[in-house]
Amino acid sequence: MPEPDDAPARARHHEPVLPEGPVRATANVCHAAGCLSLGSDLVFDRLCERVEASGTDDVGVRRVGCLGLCAQGPLVKVPEHDRLYAKVPAEPDELDQLVEQFRSGTGGLVVSEDPFFARQVKVVLRHCGSVDPEEVEDYVAKGGYAALRRAVTEMTPEEVVAEVTESGLRGRGGAGYPTGLKWATVAKSGEGGHKYVVCNADEGDPGAFMDRSVLESCPQQVLEGMAIAAYAVGANEGYVYVRAEYPLTVRRLNSAIRQAERAGLLGTAIADTSFSFHLEVRIGAGAFVCGEETALLASIEGRRGTPRPRPPYPAAAGLFGEPTLINNVETFASISAIIERGGRWYAAIGANKSRGTKVFALAGAVERTGLIEVPMGLSLRQIVFEIGGGVPGGHRCKAVQTGGPSGGCIPEELLDMPVDYESLVSAGSIMGSGGMIVMDETTCMVDVARYFMDFCREESCSRCVPCRAGTVQMHRLLDRICSGLATRADLERLERLAAMVQRASLCGLGQGAPSTVFSTLRYFKDEYLAHIDHRTCPAGVCEMAPFEMAGSGR
């Protein structure tokens, strides 16, 4: 497995430069996966060396989590002057000049004035890019674990659940189930027996990196949310289920758990109360379907990761048959802010039935790709054009894909639609976990549908027939259309098959697999017909295959 993001061991790296006296500037060097892959660890080392060599004692250098503007890494932020420096080079001479800029507060871009940042509201990401992801003390110094302390010392479990219910928070994994309701169900389940809290960090949608960024930037915030949840529902054990493709996440999580336990913030007798919560990390083996909750639980139990029919829901009978609370990374990361500032404060953000903020991984044909957090109800157009800076290369935005393989493509003419759970569903897509892929007119929508179908086909767990065999046939039909070999009868067959797979599959993977087909057919049927009737791909992507000879077997 390639491991560009697995930074070399700490020992080989420079220690942060943290002057004791007052500082004029602190260089916060991004150490999340995106910037690390662009060499931010080298920038950090060199920067430390240059600062020490220069003999100044008023410039600090430290590691932080994701600074958001991933497209322009390696990033360095100087919070004293509210400035962000993009594409920081690792050349010593240039770094010397940069250090001068850091001190004087010149150069770079002004964070609070830049549209990429000005439009965002940070709740989940409020510590992202300001705390050192590998130092629990840093998180505590920024107010971390105050919410957990408050919950376990001043609040009853019922009060915690009530606060979360009042916040209107809904599951950020994509389905949008009310979090407070789920917590209340688990709290009532079982009779004083074992319960579990599980964090779903098996992020697998193509183009999505929200959970990864949150966990790599501030793992403690997620752990704190889980501990609060455990207190609220009466659980003493928990698991974080992370995919193996995120080695840095796994390392930072393990280190975060150890550090928090040493600090008395996890483990036995948390904050000197009788509440204890033990956490373990479980690593997935590369199956997308293990993001489905029942498959995830099976995988933790050491069984084959396939979904099972629900009910019983995990809230009633989950891990090892016990009541289990399972939430997504971002849901847990929202909890500490809700406890600190109150459910009412959180519910004041957002629109319609979707409260609070949502983190998106903005990717694709957009000027400024990166990690963003916006209040619910902002329009897609604002996200793509104001935050994302529009489509590069003079191209026009054609569609925005949300929700990953189970989502859909929203066409340009609907971009003024607010981003909330209900609006996205009515437009034929879903909120999903937060992947957002912008597409320009050089993208063929049939090809997109084929791509996502290929993904679902490969990731089908093989348990139920509609998903296992249906995705294969749908992919073949889409392939025929892309090759210009299909007839209108093939298109009808595709629609009939897609309807069956959507309605008859066992779990969300199969039920969601046809949704990209449906949404592209809904908004871009002319592209399908161009492939079929005229053997042309309007976007110029698909190559038309020569006609088959009769009896060639296809």
Binding site: A287, V289, R304, R308, P309, R457, E458, E459, S460, C461, S462, R463, C464, V465, P466, R468, A469, G470, T471, V472, Q473, R476, R493, R496, L497, M500, R503, A504, S505, L506, Q511, R554
Partner: protein, 234 residues
């Protein structure tokens, strides 16, 4: 156990709480097609053939894993459900190599029976014709993966009735196969007791007894009803 009354296809029927829709329907002589289900084994809800419409439910529910509830209104056959079932059978036929004319289970095959019952006259999806492999290493039995529908009856009967857990599933998507132990050839499996239950419960000709020719796989599962009764009691 309390008695639950519900309506299936317009008939007032009664079952016990905890019972599945499928079980109550069959007790009342209402037929629902199934493939992965076998009385006495645990349910997996995998073949999706037993889907029924339940009033108020957003999508069809698998009758084998859905418990009956008071006042439930169930419809077992609609045009839509029949179409879905036919498509599922068609998908199974095209997925691997089900050539009845040369199959040991010809005329004794549940897949074949279902195709006939559901009126599948042909399939318009292309047959994928994979080369799925055969394991004939066992002294008395063999498995032809080309005829396997992944119902996992063999996996369940081996684990739940025989208690050997020799069979399991490996891989995913179209690469999924039932395997013995961790993929060792069947004949070398140290856990297999050679009881033959897996062969008896296989709905198609995938698992077969050696020495039988085309359409000779007739004497199937003589002791399955006995096993089932025993399992129900325990």
């Amino acid at each position: 156990m309390s008695v639950v009354t519900l309506v299936i296809d317009g008939h007032d029927v009664a079952g016990q709480s905890g019972q599945s829709i499928l079980s109550v329907a069959r007790e009342h002589g209402i037929a629902i097609p199934t493939l992965c289900h076998l009385d006495g084994l645990s349910e997996v809800g995998a073949c999706r053939l037993c889907m029924v419409e339940v009033r108020g439910a957003r999508r069809p529910l698998a009758a084998c894993v859905t418990e009956v509830q008071e006042h439930m209104e169930v419809t077992t056959t609609t045009d839509e459900l029949t179409d879905y079932r036919r498509q599922i059978i068609e998908l199974l036929f095209t997925e691997r190599n089900h050539v009845c004319a040369v199959c040991i289970a010809n005329r004794h095959c549940e897949l074949q029976d279902l195709a006939k019952a559901l009126g599948m006259t042909h399939f318009d999806l292309p047959a994928l014709n994979p080369s799925a492999g055969v394991d004939a290493s066992h002294e008395r039995f063999g498995i032809d993966h080309n005829r396997c529908v992944l119902c996992t009856r063999c996996v369940r009967v081996c684990a739940e009735i025989e208690g050997a857990h020799t069979w399991d599933v490996r891989g995913r998507a179209s690469e999924a196969r039932v395997i013995t132990d961790l993929g060792t050839p069947w004949g070398e499996s140290p856990t297999c007791t050679s009881c033959g239950k897996c062969v008896q419960v296989c709905p198609t000709g995938a698992l077969f007894e050696k020495g039988r020719a085309v359409a000779e796989g007739k004497e199937r599962r003589p002791y399955v009803p006995f096993l089932v009764a025993r399992n129900r009691r325990s």
